[in-house]
Amino acid sequence: MNVAEIIVPQQEVAWLPWAVQYFFFVGLAATAAIIAGAGEFLRGGRWQRLQPAALLVAVSTGVVAPIALLADLHQPGRFYHFYTDITPWSWMSLGALILPVFMTGLIGYWVLWQRERFKEQGAPRWLALWTAGHWSGRRLRPWLAALMIIGAIGILVYTGSEVMIVKARALWHTEWLILNLAMTAFMGSLAAMLYAQARIFRATAGDQRFTLRLFMLALLGTGAGALGWAAGGWITDSVSFQAFARLIGQFAYWRIVFALSVGVGISLLVAALWMLRTPRGVALSWWMAPLALLAAWSFRWAVLMDVQTVPKYGAGLYPYHLPLGSDGLLGILGIFGLWLAVMMVLPGIIAGREAANESMKMSEVAHG
C-alpha cells in the first residue's frame, strides 16, 4: 500500500539564508574582537602581536555582518522600528541596541589602533588623513577596547539567546546553544587568524603556534559544549536533546549531519594536535582554515535553516529548496562577495609594511 497524498500548507521560512550569513560573520567579528581586545590589556606579548590578524578578521567580518542582518528582516525598511519601539523583553530588540555598541567599540578601537601604527610606520598617502592632528588617543583606547569586548560578549549572548528562546523549536531551546555558537565562532575566527598570520602578516612561528593553541582550545571548547549539551540533555531529558535523538533515529539526513559534525571536529582536533608537534606542522596549520570556517558556517546552516524543515507538528521533514535569487543562493554569494571585496583592501591597510612579501614561500614562512 503506498501513501497517496501529502497534505501540508506551504509556508515561508522565517529565518532566511541571510541569517546564516549574519550569524557567521558576526560570530567571527565578535570572537576576533575579543581576542583583539585582549591584546590591548595584555600588552607587549603574543596577544598584542595577534592584534593585526584579529583586527583584520574582526573588522572585515564586522562591517559585512550588519548588511546581511538588514536583509534578513524580510522588510529591511522597518529596521528603524528597533529604535523607535524599544522592546526590552525581546532578545532581538536588545540585539539591535548591542550591535551599534559593538560596532562603535570595534571601529573606534581599530581607528585608534591603526592611527598609532600609521604614526609609527607611516601611512599610505591616500590614508594620510588617518594620522592628522597631534593627539594620540591612547587614553581612549582601553575604553574603546572595553566597549568592544563588552559589545562582543553581548553579541554572542544575544544572537544565541534569540534563537534559544523559541520554545516551539525544541532543538533550539537549550542554553548550550549560546555556548556552541560562541565556541564554533572562536574556532572559525582563530582559523581565519591562522590564515592571516601565515599568508598576510609576517607572523613568527611562535606567534602562529600561539594562535594554533588558541584554535585548539576553541575546538576543545566546541567539543565540550557539544558533549555538555548531549550529556546534560541525556541526564535531564531536555527537549532539545530528545528532539535531536528523534531526528537522528528517523532521518538519514540528520545522521549524516551528525556524523559530519563529529568527523570534522575530531579531524580538526587531531590535525591541530599533530601540527603543534613540529614547526613544519605549525607552518601548515593555515590549511585548516577553510575547513574550520566551513564547519562554523555549516553549523549555523544546520541550526537555522535545517531545523526549520523539522515540522513542529506532524511527520517527516518539510522540503526546503534554496531559491536561486536574493533570498537564497545569490544572497549568500553576495555577502561572501562583499567580504571578498573588503579583504582585497583591508589587509593592505592593516598590514602596512608588515605585509607578506608576494614572493614569500611556504618554507620561508615556516622558518621565518
Partner: protein
C-alpha cells in the same frame, strides 16, 4: 608577480565581489525603499507572542468565564457555499475594514456540530461554549474548503461590473458597461455586437402566441427563453418566480442532471416520488452494517461534513461495520479500524450487476424481509407493526402491448366500484382478490391470467415476481463477470446484509452516473426494500421538512401574486412528457409510419434536464431557444463530453442569439456569454437553503450580508447581482410579481419587490413564523453577530412585530428544530410505499427503441441512446480502460480560485492501478495522456493499489479552463490568468458524444438523461 598586476588582480576580485553583492542585495534594497516610501515598513509591536496579529474575536476570562468580544470584530452566523452541502458557518468579520477574517462552524447548525447548540440558547452562551477545550464535542468546525472560500470575496479574478463581449463569442474580450446599459440592451435587443440584429427579452416575451402551431405542445413564444442556475443555493425561488410565473417560460434547468440525477431518479422510483425524487440516508446512530456503493462518506457526498463525523463516531464508538464498494478506494475506509470495514474494488459501472446479483441471491435464498414485503398497504403495515410498506404484492399487468402494460392492476380494472382506485392484491390466506388497503398480508409471488372488466385477458404478476424474474435473467457468475467482483464476495455481502434485520443499509450516490445510471441506482436502493429498512431505527430515513421561507409562508405568500402566470408547453429537454403525446408521434402514426425512433431521446420520467437543454435549444428539437440566462450553472465544465458536443454550435450567435451569464467569476460556461452580470458571493447576499438529506430535524439555513458587497451598485444604490438584474429586467418589461404591489401578506396587503431585501427579509419573517414564532432577538445577540449592522434594513422592510424575530433567525444563521436523541431513530417518516414496481417507469416506452422501460430494477450494461452497448462502438481491445470520477474532499467545482486549497493539493493526479501501470511502463510522476473517444488530456500518473485493475480514477474539481485560469481582456487590459488555477485534469473533458444521438449531444443515461461520467472507455499512454 609585480605590484601592478597584483593590484589589478586584487581590484578585479574586489569588483567581482562587489558585483555579486550588488546583484544579491538589490532585492532587499528595493524592498526597503518600497516599504519606506509606501509606509508599509512596519508598525510598533503590541504583544510579545502575538505581535501585531488582530486580537482574537473573543477572550474568555479565566476567572469569571465571561466572554469578552474584541473591538472592531463580530462573529456572524451564516451559510457556506463552498459546495452544495451548504453548511452553517460562523464568519469572523473585521467590521473596521469590512473583511471576513476566518470561517469556522455555526454551533447551532446540525451540519456543523454533532450535538448542535439548543436553538433557544443566547448567542453569548453558544459562543462561550466554543471556548476552552471540551474536545470534539464542543467544536463547531468548517471543512478545509469552507474555511478557504473566504478568499473568493476579494479575489482578483472576480468581476464586479457588468461586461459585454467585444470579440467573437467565447474569445474572452470584454468591455465594462453600466448596469443601465446592460438592462437596456438585453431587454430591447438591437445590433448589439455589430453582427446583426439580436432579439432582446421583450421580443420573445409573449405568453399567448404559440411558437409553432404545427406542434402546439411546444407552448408559447416565451418558451424560447431558457433560464438555468447551478443549484439550490438559497436564492432559487426568485429565479423560478421570474422564469415560470413572471416571464412565463417553461424552461428552467439546474446542475442536477450532471450531478447525481441518475441516483435521484432511481431513488425516486423506489420512493414512489417521480417529482421530488426523495432520497434517504442511513440512521447512523443505530445502523449496524452499511454498504456504501458509489458513495464515500467522510470523503464526499451530502451532507459531507456531517457524515464525516458520523462515520468516525460510528466506527469507533460502537458496533458498526461497513463496506465500501467502489472502483477507487476513498477516504471512507480506515485501516485504523480495519476490523470493521473493508473495500471491495469493482469495475466502473459494475454496480448494477453486483446489486442485481445480490437481489437474486437474496430472493433465491429467501433472505428478504418477508414480514415486511407481504404487507400490501398502510393498514396491514400498522397491523404488522412494520415501519413502512411496499407494493411488492401489488400486481403488474405484464402482457405486452396492452393499454395497461406496466401498470399496477387497480380495482376499477376489475370493475370494482368500492376501492376502485386501490391496488389489487391476492389475499395471503384465502388466495382471493383483495384491495391493498386491507389490514392483512398478501401473496408475495403471484403469476395469474385475469379477465379484465373490458373483457381482455392479461397476465398479471406481483411486483416481487417481476423483480425475481428480472433478477434471474443472469446467473450469479454472469453478474460476477460483468462487475468483476468474485461470486463468493457477492454472496458473502448479500448474506451479511441480510443478517442484521432492518439495521442494515445500502447507500449510494454519484458513483451510479454511468451509461445505465437509472437502473444501477434503482437496483442498489432496492436492496434497502429487501430488508425493509425504510423509516426503521438503524435503517433509512428522509429528512425533516424545511421551514418555509420565500414560498407560501405564514406572513407573506411569496409563491403567489396578482397576475401570476403558469408556464405552458413541454420542456426543451423533452422530459416529464412522453413522445407518444407529441404531434410528431401523431403525425408519424397518421401517415402510417413506424413512430420509432423519435428524432432524439425523450425522458418521460425525468425532471427538466440541463444536460439536454442546450443541445435541444441549439439543434431546435423540439424547438429553439433564443435567449439563455445562466446563473452560475457550469455544464461546460461539469457535464462529461458537453464541450466537445456543442462548443462550435454554442459559439454561433445564429443559434442562441443572446447568452447572459450571472456569476461572481467567469466560469467555463459563462465564458460563452454575450453579457456578464456580476453577482454576490455567499458572505455578501441573502438566501435560505435546506439540507439535502441526512438531517432528521427540521432546518433552514439563512445567509445575509455579513460584509458590504464588493460589486458595483446600480443607480438605485443596490449591489449588482442576480436579484438586481432580474428585478430590473422584470420592471422594464412590466412583468407581474415584481416592482410595487408584488408580495401579498397574510391580510392581503401588497408589498413591493424592488430590492433583494424586499424579497429575502419577508422570507425571513416566514421562517420566523413557520411552526410557531421564534422569540425576538436580544440586543446582545445582534451585537455579537453583527446583525445590529443590518437592523435598520430589517426595520425598514418588516413590520414592527416581525423585524426582531427575523433578526433572531439571522443571529443564528437560520432556524433549526430540536435535535432528536441519538437513539430516536427516524423522526420524519416517509408515508408512501417502497415501490418494488414503479408503474410510472414501467408503463412508458423508450422513444428510440419503442421498448417498454422495466418498472423494477433490471440489469443493463452502459449503453447509448439507441440501446447499443458501448463496446460495439468502442471495442475493448482499443479502449481497455474504464474511467471513474470521484469527488474531491478539498475542491468543489467552483472552489479552485481559493489559493490555500491549491497549496494543500495543487493538482489532481491520474490514479492508475499499480500493476496496470507497471504493465504499461508507467511510473508515479510520469506524464501520461488519457484518451477516450471523446477527447484526451495530459496529466501526472499516480500509481495506486487503491484503484481497481482496469480503472483510471480522477478526482473532480481540477483541470479548469476558466475561473481565472485563462487571461481575459477587459476594456483592452488583460486580466491575467493563473496557470495554477488550470492545473490538473478534468474528467469531463474526456466525456463521449453519443454517436447514436441525432442531436449530437454528450452521452447521457438513456432513461433519465443524466450525464455519463463513470466507466468512460479509455486508453492511457506515456508522454515523451
Amino acid at each position: 608577480m609585480d605590484n601592478k598586476r597584483r593590484n589589478l588582480l586584487k581590484g578585479s576580485a574586489a569588483l567581482g565581489g562587489l558585483g555579486v553583492f550588488g546583484a544579491g542585495y538589490v532585492d532587499p534594497v528595493k524592498k526597503a525603499a518600497q516599504g519606506l516610501l509606501s509606509g508599509s515598513a512596519g508598525e510598533p509591536t503590541t504583544d510579545r507572542i502575538t505581535g501585531n496579529a488582530l486580537p482574537p474575536e473573543f477572550r474568555i476570562d479565566a476567572e469569571t468565564g465571561e466572554l469578552i468580544p474584541a473591538e472592531g470584530q463580530v462573529v456572524s452566523l451564516t451559510q457556506c457555499l463552498g459546495c452544495w452541502t451548504q453548511c452553517g458557518i460562523r464568519a469572523r468579520v473585521d467590521t473596521v475594514n469590512n473583511r471576513v477574517l476566518r470561517i469556522a462552524g455555526n454551533p447551532y447548525h446540525p451540519l456543523s456540530h454533532e450535538k448542535p447548540q439548543v436553538y433557544d440558547a443566547p448567542v453569548r452562551e453558544a459562543y462561550t461554549g466554543l471556548g476552552g477545550d471540551p474536545g470534539i464535542e464542543g467544536r463547531s468546525a468548517a471543512c478545509a474548503r469552507g474555511a478557504a472560500m473566504l478568499e473568493l470575496l476579494d479575489n482578483p479574478q472576480r468581476i464586479t461590473r457588468p461586461m459585454k463581449r467585444v470579440g467573437p463569442r467565447g474569445s474572452g474580450q470584454w468591455q465594462t458597461i453600466s448596469f443601465e446599459q446592460l438592462i437596456e440592451e438585453v431587454t430591447e435587443g438591437g445590433d448589439l455586437f455589430g453582427e446583426g440584429r439580436v432579439d432582446g427579452l421583450r421580443a420573445i416575451h409573449d405568453t399567448e402566441t404559440l411558437m409553432d402551431p404545427e406542434n402546439p405542445e411546444y407552448g408559447p413564444v416565451a418558451n424560447r427563453l431558457l433560464v438555468t442556475d447551478a443549484g439550490p443555493d438559497g436564492r432559487r425561488a426568485i429565479v423560478k418566480r421570474f422564469t415560470f410565473n413572471a416571464f412565463g417560460t417553461r424552461n428552467f434547468g439546474h446542475h442536477g442532471s450532471y450531478c447525481g440525477l441518475g441516483y435521484r431518479v432511481g431513488s425516486g422510483a423506489l420512493f414512489d416520488d417521480m417529482k421530488g425524487f426523495t432520497h434517504a440516508k442511513l440512521d447512523w446512530d443505530r445502523a449496524r452494517f452499511v454498504i456504501f456503493m458509489g458513495t464515500a462518506p467522510a470523503h464526499a457526498g451530502n451532507p459531507y461534513k456531517q457524515q464525516g463525523r458520523q462515520l468516525a463516531s460510528a466506527r469507533t464508538d460502537r458496533r458498526f461495520e461497513y463496506v465500501v464498494v467502489a472502483p477507487s478506494l476513498p477516504n471512507s475506509s480506515s485501516l485504523a479500524t480495519r476490523g470493521n470495514n473493508n473495500w471491495v474494488p469493482i469495475r466502473p459501472a459494475g454496480d448494477s450487476a453486483m446489486a442485481m446479483a445480490m437481489i437474486r441471491w437474496i430472493i433465491d435464498n429467501e433472505r428478504y424481509d418477508r414480514d415486511y414485503l407481504i404487507q400490501p398497504g398502510p393498514a396491514a403495515q400498522e397491523a404488522a407493526g412494520e415501519p413502512s410498506w411496499s407494493n411488492a404484492t401489488h400486481l403488474v399487468v405484464s402482457s405486452e402491448n396492452h393499454a395497461l402494460t406496466g401498470r399496477i392492476l387497480r380495482g376499477r380494472d376489475l370493475g370494482w366500484t368500492d376501492s376502485a382506485g386501490d391496488s389489487v392484491v391476492v389475499d395471503a390466506v384465502s388466495g382471493e382478490w383483495m384491495a391493498h388497503t386491507m389490514p392483512r398480508p398478501a401473496e408475495l409471488f403471484v403469476t395469474r391470467e385475469v379477465v379484465l372488466a373490458d373483457g381482455s385477458t392479461v397476465t398479471v404478476k406481483s411486483a416481487m415476481q417481476r423483480l425475481a424474474d428480472e433478477a434471474r435473467r443472469l446467473t450469479l457468475s454472469e453478474y460476477s463477470a460483468e462487475c468483476d467482483v468474485p461470486e463468493a464476495t457477492i454472496e458473502a455481502l448479500a448474506r451479511k446484509f441480510t443478517s442484521y434485520g432492518k439495521q442494515a443499509v445500502i447507500n449510494t450516490h454519484g458513483g451510479v452516473m454511468n451509461g445505465s445510471a437509472f437502473y444501477t441506482s434503482y437496483a442498489i436502493v432496492m436492496l434497502n426494500a429487501m430488508v425493509g429498512n425504510l423509516n426503521a431505527p438503524g435503517g433509512t430515513f428522509v429528512k425533516g421538512k424545511p421551514y418555509t421561507n420565500t414560498g407560501a409562508g405564514e406572513r407573506y405568500d411569496m409563491a403567489n401574486f396578482p397576475g401570476k402566470i403558469g408556464p405552458k408547453g413541454i420542456f426543451l429537454s423533452r422530459s416529464r412528457t412522453t413522445y407518444e403525446a407529441s404531434s410528431e408521434f401523431r403525425r408519424k402514426v397518421e401517415s402510417g409510419r413506424n413512430p420509432y425512433p423519435a428524432k432524439a431521446p425523450w425522458y418521460p420520467v425525468s425532471p427538466p434536464l440541463f444536460t439536454e437543454h442546450l443541445c435541444s435549444a441549439l439543434e431546435g428539437y423540439p424547438y429553439q431557444a433564443k435567449i439563455w440566462i445562466n446563473h452560475m450553472g457550469n455544464p461546460i465544465y461539469g457535464q462529461a463530453g458537453l464541450r466537445e458536443a456543442i462548443d462550435q454550435r454554442l459559439k454561433d450567435p445564429g443559434r442562441i442569439g443572446l447568452i447572459i451569464g450571472i456569476e461572481p467569476f467567469i466560469n467555463e460556461t459563462n465564458a460563452y456569454a454575450d453579457y456578464l452580470v456580476p453577482d454576490l458571493v455567499t458572505y455578501e447576499g441573502w438566501g435560505f437553503s435546506k439540507a439535502w438529506a441526512g438531517v432528521k430535524q427540521r432546518m433552514t439555513s439563512a445567509r445575509w450580508p455579513v460584509v458590504e458587497p464588493r460589486v458595483e451598485k446600480t443607480a438605485d444604490g443596490e449591489p449588482i447581482s442576480m436579484e438586481a438584474f432580474l428585478i430590473a429586467v422584470s420592471k422594464r418589461l412590466g412583468l407581474p410579481g415584481f416592482g410595487d404591489n408584488a408580495i401579498p401578506d397574510a391580510d392581503g396587503n401588497l408589498h413591493p419587490l424592488n430590492t433583494a431585501a424586499d424579497w429575502y427579509l419577508r422570507g425571513a419573517a416566514n421562517v420566523a413564523w413557520d411552526g410557531g414564532p421564534v422569540p425576538e432577538a436580544a440586543e446582545d445577540d445582534m451585537r455579537l453577530t453583527g446583525v445590529d449592522r443590518i437592523a435598520p434594513v430589517l426595520q425598514a422592510h418588516l413590520k414592527p412585530e416581525e423585524w426582531r424575530r427575523a433578526a433572531y433567525v439571522f443571529c443564528r444563521g437560520g432556524r433549526f428544530g430540536e435535535a432528536p436523541a441519538k437513539d430516536a431513530g427516524p423522526v420524519t417518516h416517509w408515508q408512501r410505499p417502497a415501490t418494488i414496481w414503479n408503474e410510472k417507469v414501467g408503463s412508458n416506452r423508450h422513444s428510440l427503441t419503442g421498448d417498454y422501460f422495466t418498472g423494477c430494477p433490471t440489469w443493463h450494461p452502459p449503453r447509448f441512446a439507441d440501446g447499443s452497448r458501448v463496446e460495439r462502438h468502442y471495442p475493448v481491445d482499443q479502449w481497455p480502460l474504464r474511467l471513474t470520477s470521484y469527488k474531491s474532499h478539498l475542491q468543489s467545482p467552483h472552489s479552485i480560485a481559493a489559493s490555500r486549497l491549491r497549496q494543500i493539493h495543487p493538482y489532481n493526479p491520474v490514479g492508475i492501478n499499480t500493476r496496470d501501470a507497471e504493465a504499461a511502463g508507467i511510473q508515479t510522476g510520469d506524464r501520461v495522456r488519457l484518451v477516450t473517444p471523446g477527447g484526451s488530456v495530459e496529466g501526472v500518473a499516480l500509481l495506486r493499489d487503491g484503484v481497481k485493475r482496469g480503472a483510471v480514477a480522477i478526482e473532480h474539481g481540477y483541470g479548469h479552463r476558466e475561473l481565472g485560469a485563462r487571461t481575459h481582456t477587459v476594456d483592452g487590459t488583460p486580466l491575467p490568468g493563473d496557470e495554477a488555477i488550470g492545473a490538473g485534469v478534468n474528467l469531463n473533458d474526456l466525456g463521449l458524444v453519443d454517436p447514436t444521438h441525432s442531436s449530437g449531444n454528450a452521452w447521457v443515461d438513456w432513461v433519465t438523461g443524466a450525464s455519463v461520467r463513470q466507466a468512460l472507455p479509455a486508453r492511457i499512454e506515456k508522454v515523451g
